[in-house]
Symmetry: C2
Subunit: 276 residues, 2 copies
């Protein structure tokens, strides 16, 4: 029983299990595509993670994550670039489809978001030759505007695509419904991303009403207000037929449940709520 078109971002069960057990649970549920985080890889070791990936023929829809380019001084910005190059190497070793970038917010006590945005474009530009040489596409993930201060000053798909246009090949976008569902320009920008051939990943979860925490209260697909089928239709029409990757941060609900239950629910909801 193989579940076609579904990937599990391992943050979804990160509180319950490490890389090896998370992979086992996914395989048990017929899922052969995953997206791990660098700390999960580091905990088991890159070599062992690579062995598990290859032994099981796993597809990695992305490695999370690079980014966080803005810094108060040049040394900090160079550190970020160096770390992003290491992340590229890890993604290459694991054969990941892309390295997901959460680009970073305002550095230090800055109020200058335009400069932060320029630091992001500069940081990606500086990482890009290494990424191209390694054959690892960089996936800019626009984050919801509520993270503009501290996590990502790239807040719309349109803005991410502008950076892609500016920087050329080797960089695209990860479209996470949680971050972009509200955007009145979403349909246009998804179509534009398709014309530019820049869609590298499609992440899913749901937006709960009310949302009780800005970071760790994401919903399971079907429990919120996002039109998941509608957005999938946009993305498929734009030419991306890759997996939908479930990424749920849920401190008070899903992270407290048995991981087998969480993954079984992901499969159910993917089948009932998410397909175009």
């Amino acid at each position: 029983m193989h579940v076609e078109g579904l990937s599990i971002n391992l943050a979804t069960i990160r509180e319950q299990c490490g890389f090896a057990r998370a992979v086992d649970i996914c395989l048990t549920h017929g899922i052969t595509a995953i997206a791990p985080w660098r700390d999960q890889i580091a905990a088991i070791g890159l070599k062992e993670a690579e062995r598990i990936v290859k032994a099981n023929g796993l597809k990695l829809t992305g490695l999370c994550r690079g980014g966080f380019f803005p810094a108060a001084d040049a040394a900090g910005r160079q550190q970020a670039i160096d770390d992003n190059k290491r992340a590229v190497d890890e993604a290459a070793t694991l054969g990941a489809d892309c390295l997901v970038l959460v680009v970073g917010g305002l550095p230090g006590a800055s109020r200058d978001i335009d400069t932060a945005r320029q630091m992001v474009a500069d940081g990606i530009a500086a990482t890009l030759p290494h990424a191209r040489a390694a054959g690892v596409p960089l996936a800019i993930e626009p984050l919801h505007p509520m993270y503009a201060g501290d996590r990502s000053c790239v807040n719309t798909l349109g803005q991410a695509l502008d950076i892609c246009e500016q920087l050329g090949d080797g960089v695209g976008v990860a479209i996470d419904v949680y971050h972009v569902w509200w955007d009145p320009d979403l349909a246009n920008q998804v179509a534009r991303a398709g014309r530019m051939n820049r869609i590298l990943a499609h992440h899913i979860c749901d937006w709960l009403v009310p949302t009780r925490d800005m970071l760790t209260d994401r919903g399971m697909m079907g429990d919120g207000v996002i039109d998941l089928k509608g957005i999938r239709r946009m993305i498929e029409s734009a030419g991306f037929l890759g997996a939908q990757e479930v990424e749920i941060f849920s401190a008070e609900n899903w992270w407290k449940r048995p991981p087998e239950e969480v993954i079984a629910t992901c499969v159910e909801r993917y089948q009932s709520c998410c397909q175009a």
Copy 2:
């Protein structure tokens, strides 16, 4: 000692005092412009509120608030329109510069944000003849995208201006820095709003990092990451020279302090952090 160009939205001290005492505190601090909420007016009675406003020569930079147009059925939508007309009448009685609209989010269990947005345009259109006749401009306040589900499906200044263009005279925008500061298209859209002559109000506060509550953790000007002077320059360049209206929802900080301290701090910070 008159503080020129500063207005206090009375939500800023709503937990500490009602309309009459809030007005007294503002006057004591040299502030003669305010923006009350309808529940504050209702508590003291419209007639008495009108008397206080006129006796003190108060300027009202807005009445909060109309809106919440989307509803699951036609009866609900008509109720919203009727209530908005009553709000227009109250704004006219008090001589308010505008009626601020928080337009509403997704009705019921809907996932159809396009339809909700159409309900908003339709609701404003249905209210507009009454507002024009009363001489009360309607001010669409785009709300931060984190409120798209439950409070406002109009989430960018550009989107609000599109509605203004569609509906003609008598409707404009309230620009609240808290909701729009992150927008990569902000400078363009503020300039556009100026060319269209649609800026009706300018609200200020600050975005705290971290933000601990999505609704009631707004910061005092200067305590967060918003470039308040920069945005004021944009707005003045676009031709709006009206007051800056302080609106702070702060359950754990400013709502717990003596209201005199809060208003004194608003004056200080307005003078040090907010002028173009």
